[in-house]
């Protein structure tokens, strides 16, 4: 996993630094940090938030009323 992230950094960061694209660089680091935490959570089996049960709970009454079971 670490090698994968390192490869992405090596592929993206030098080009962004040379082009002087600070906004893109900030957004990249932000999302990369998020994706790293997310991946680490998956590997370490942290209780990560899963949107599926939330969506199901929201739509369950409508689905039942419409016969979607």
């Amino acid at each position: 996993m670490l090698f994968g992230f390192l490869a992405i950094i090596l592929l993206e960061v030098p080009a962004l630094v040379i082009a002087g694209r600070k906004k893109e660089l900030r957004a990249f680091w932000l999302l990369l940090a998020l994706s790293f935490l997310f991946s680490l959570g998956m590997v370490q089996r942290w209780p990560l938030p899963n949107p599926t049960p939330v969506i199901e709970a929201i739509f369950r009454p409508v689905a039942d009323a419409l016969g979607l079971q």
Binding site: G4, I8, L11, E12, A15, L16, A19, R21, K23, E24, L25, A27, F28, L30, L31, L32, L34, S35, F38, S39, G41, M42, L48, N50, P51, T52, I55, E56, I58, F59, R60, V62, A63, L66, G67, L68, Q69
Partner: protein, 367 residues
Amino acid sequence: MKTVQTTNPVQISVRQAAMMLITPVTATGHLLFVRIVFRYAGKDGWISLLIALTLGAAGLWVMIRLLQRHPEKNLLQISEDLFGAIAGRVVGLCFVGFLLFISAVLLRSFGDFMRLVMPATPIVVLMGVMIALAARTCRQGLEVVARANDILLPILIVTGSLLSLLVTKDKQPRNLLPVLEHGWQPVLAGALALQGLFAETVLLGSFGHALGKGRRVLPRVLWIMAILGVMFMGPITGPTTLFGPASVRAMVYPTWEEVKHVQFADMIGNLDVMGVLLWTLGSSVQSTLLLWGTSSGTAWLLKVDDYRALVAPLAIITLGLSILVADNARELTNFLTTGYPLLSITIGVLLPLLMLVWTEIRLLLRG
């Protein structure tokens, strides 16, 4: 110096935009939604399809009309125009979050299918390869995806039609009778579940400004729906006429079972690999388009000009989310049958409809 790929309108034609809508809908439909229709409507699935196409046409008309009312703008820019800077970005976040979520759900569905073909390979590897390919293509820009799709969609249509024709001799149309044996309720439930097919209409809001050009919206919508109708009628009626309604209900991938059945002139057989090829091609275009939609939308939310730097991290998040969305294939199917169609209708049809109504009211008030 690299060229700047902004979130501004991309240069694709009306035909390319329409074709890029057809490919993902077809890939998702044949792989996932055919069995869901059978689960509800059984042999009356073709009636569910006709109703679903009518509802889908209405949703597509709403989206194209909205794009037409806001020339050269995408769905996210329109939401900011209509609801202001903060509320507009919240609505934009809903669209981007939706694209990320369906991207993960559909990637997982592809992974579950591929595990049947390659049971020894871990699902994360199968999905990882697909999303890495999507990320690589996505970085080349939407125009490249559109040109690749120009080649792939005709291959999908011709090969799929040929496979369907090769089993025609074994089909029993009587298996479709009697019509409406269990009344309208299962058929309507099937039609509603099929609305999940049109979730990708939201993507059209990102790249479909080309479809909004000119005045004649309805003929374009009808053409797209007619092509989708032709491409779905075979897969929806085929397994029933071939295996009978009772057997089809028990199948996980009825269309794949139909492809496996192909045997022609004692020479052509074992064509299930063709089915795998078709769904892999379709799913690769779908994953690329959804990743493009998520990346360009996120770039807009973060006020970044070049979406390409965000593709790789978002691909990793999509992959992680695809593992998280369901514990197993059965749980995913249950979600695709109940919550997913309603989520698709809410974000893909009702929210754009609200935006269109608000646009028309504003135009009326301004005189």
